[in-house]
């Protein structure tokens, strides 16, 4: 047996990453759940969960988070798919476009939020341009807490700009794993471009689609810096509530309950995607 000959070597090689995961992920997670299920006195209790659910901001944060996800994921997926198909068509300059598309990947979440804040703010570029063109005679306040639709739109725009390329790169990798013969067979057997995408590319790309959707949804549940940068307190999401309870109210128990709730939502959405987009072994080449 190969495994026996290798002896302890594979385990030794796994050890550093296992140790890293244990110290920096598993342990804090267990601690966080411990915090969430304890009260200030250190006794086991559901008090912080009750506080969280009863909190006036909880409902708003949950709805905003879900609205963001419901708008963001389809928009980003369609955009990323179109970008991936452009790259995969290997037209002239497709390498150039790949780099252009990937630029936002190198920018931190907060910086991305600030870039869009600079565009949308009262003295921002958008207002300057609209005034310069004579469309507005005085600045319009887009990022106004009384106008949540604009806030959500700005956050969606910034998040789509920032994180669409992550999905695109996963899809490009998946597309490049599909032999070109399949696309050519679709051409020969009469598929139009749209039929090719729907009947051949999407089904064959299913494992990548699944990974991309799960990853992006989990990241969207954690959306934080962009929301803070663009909307400040005008828009609240689950992770900004966790932050508020931790830093403003100094209540790490309720903050941990929020974090645990986000984790559970992520697990539920992952299971949902696995169930909606099953990757069956006999259907893979």
């Amino acid at each position: 047996m190969k495994g026996q000959r290798l002896g302890w070597a594979p385990y030794a090689l796994l050890l550093p990453s296992l140790a890293f995961l244990a110290v920096f992920f598993a342990a804090p997670m267990v601690q966080a759940f411990g915090l969430a299920f304890q009260n200030d006195a250190g006794n086991w209790s559901l008090e912080s969960w009750r506080t969280m659910f009863a909190d006036a901001q909880f409902r708003e944060a949950l709805v905003t988070t879900l609205v963001l996800i419901v708008i963001l994921i389809p928009v980003q997926f369609v955009l990323a798919m179109a970008m991936a198909l452009v790259i995969n068509a290997r037209l002239k300059w497709s390498g150039f476009w790949l780099y252009i598309y990937a630029i936002p990947l190198g920018i931190s979440e907060l910086a991305a939020g600030i870039i869009w804040f600079v565009i949308f703010t009262q003295q921002g570029w958008l207002n300057s341009i609209l005034q310069g063109l004579g469309i507005l005679d005085r600045p319009y306040i887009f990022l106004n807490y009384q106008n949540p639709a604009w806030l959500i739109f700005a956050v969606v725009l910034a998040e789509a700009w920032r994180a669409t390329s992550i999905i695109m790169i996963i899809l490009v990798a998946g597309l490049q794993g599909i032999p070109r013969d399949f696309f050519e067979a679709a051409d020969v057997f009469g598929a139009t471009s749209w039929q090719k995408v729907r009947r051949v590319i999407l089904p064959m790309l299913r494992p990548s689609v699944q990974v991309a959707l799960i990853l992006r949804t989990i990241l969207a549940f954690q959306a934080f810096a962009v929301v803070i940068a663009l909307a400040g307190g005008g828009l609240t999401v689950l992770s900004s509530e966790a932050y508020r309870w931790y830093s403003d109210y100094r209540n790490s128990h309720v903050a941990a309950a929020y974090a645990g709730f986000i984790l559970m939502l992520s697990v539920v959405s992952t299971v949902l995607f696995l169930w909606l987009l099953p990757v069956r072994e006999e259907q893979q080449g």
Binding site: P179, D181, F182, E184, A185, A186, D187, V188, F189, G190, A191, T192, Q195, R199, V200, P203, M204, R206, E281, E282, Q283, Q284, G285
Partner: protein, 361 residues
């Protein structure tokens, strides 16, 4: 009903490599044409241009009197069997075969009837509900064939469809494919680098080299009268023997000298100024004798390979080697002398510089 006409087809890759170089070829309705050649000769590129998967820089492609040069594949009324089969892994056998019909909005009942008919022809009836991953390589190949023939196309294109099968399956499939295509009577183009496949399947074979068609004819024409040294050595196993000789004249007769021996040459060679000539002869057209005989060429046995049905003898005439097919009872011994009597009407004459056959008739 479709005749295919290729005129001056040229494909240039990277602005300099002429993968296909001014090919003219007409394929008759219902003909089975094989494009044969070594890898890189342009045969697959030529087929892909007929399919519309590649566009020629110059030249026109027409199918059944319709110029299709600028049309995408789906408007050409063709179907294709890919070398890798390209059977969709996410679809069942039924859905794979039905794929093209669904794209054409054929009615459900009609799809069912035609898919089942095609599956029957290639003996896939019991496997219609399976996924490709649950099939053997040979079965997947049949799915690819069924998917192509179910379209009842004007032209059927096959790109090395047997090359991924093991030797025994390939032999069986070859005969099956021949029967199938014979029944369908579809104009067919078949790309292969396997000369045996080409001989066995083709009504005609177009032998390609470096982007050009070197010779196009029936399998027997190509085997018997190769137009160039390349064709003679590419077709046949073992390849045709080539011996270098000198044209000599004595008493008004033309002879070709091989070392200190001579071969009688056809009088048409007399027109050639004295010089070297290449003699081509196939292994089975040489009679081997164990004793000296009049008119036979003396040679020395080097290697004897018993192949069951015959012996393959490698012999040396002077410093030139050739292969001879001998009966199994021929007393061949390494290093023993033997005498060779080539059939005079099977001798072929080539220009040693250009490799072109000399018109010796």
């Amino acid at each position: 009903m479709a005749e295919i006409r290729l005129q001056g087809i040229t494909k240039i890759f990277d602005k300099k490599v002429r993968a296909v170089d001014e090919v003219d070829l007409t394929i008759a309705d219902q003909e089975f044409m094989v494009l044969l050649g070594p890898s890189g000769c342009g045969k697959t590129t030529l087929m892909r241009m007929i399919a519309g998967l590649e566009y020629p820089e110059y030249g026109r492609v027409s199918i059944g009197n319709r110029d299709v040069t600028d049309l995408p594949p789906r408007r050409r009324d063709i179907s294709m069997v890919f070398q890798s089969y390209a059977v969709f892994p996410h679809l069942t056998v039924f859905d794979n075969v039905a794929f093209g019909l669904r794209m054409k909005n054929v009615t459900k009942a009609e799809i069912k009837r035609r898919v089942e008919g095609a599956a029957e022809l290639v003996q896939l009836g019991p496997y219609l509900e399976r996924y490709p991953a649950q099939l053997s390589g040979g079965q997947r190949q049949r799915v690819a064939v069924a998917r192509a023939i179910v379209m009842e196309p004007a032209v059927l294109l096959m790109d090395e469809p047997l090359s991924n099968l093991d030797a025994l399956l390939r032999l069986n499939f070859r005969a099956e494919l021949k029967r199938l295509v014979g029944e369908l009577k579809t104009t067919t183009i078949y790309v292969t680098h396997d000369q045996v496949e080409a001989m066995s399947l083709g009504d005609r074979i177009a032998v390609m080299r470096e982007g050009r068609i070197v010779q196009c004819g029936t399998p027997m024409e190509i085997y018997d009268r190769p137009a160039t040294q390349f064709v003679g050595s590419f077709i046949g196993s073992p390849p045709m023997n080539f011996l270098r000789g000198r044209i000599e004249r004595s008493n008004g007769h033309v002879q070709v000298g091989l070392g200190d021996q001579t071969l009688t040459a056809p009088s048409t060679l007399a027109g050639r100024s004295a010089g070297e000539v290449l003699v081509g002869i196939r292994a089975e057209n040489i009679e081997a004798e164990a004793a000296p005989a009049a008119g036979a060429i003396a040679a020395r046995t080097e290697v004897v390979e018993p192949l069951g049905s015959h012996l393959l003898v490698t012999a040396a005439v002077g410093d030139q080697r050739l292969k001879i097919q001998a009966r199994t009872d021929f007393p061949a011994q390494p290093d023993a002398p033997l005498w060779l009597r080539p059939e005079p009407d099977k001798l072929r004459w080539f220009d040693p510089e250009s490799g072109q056959e000399l018109d010796a008739r």
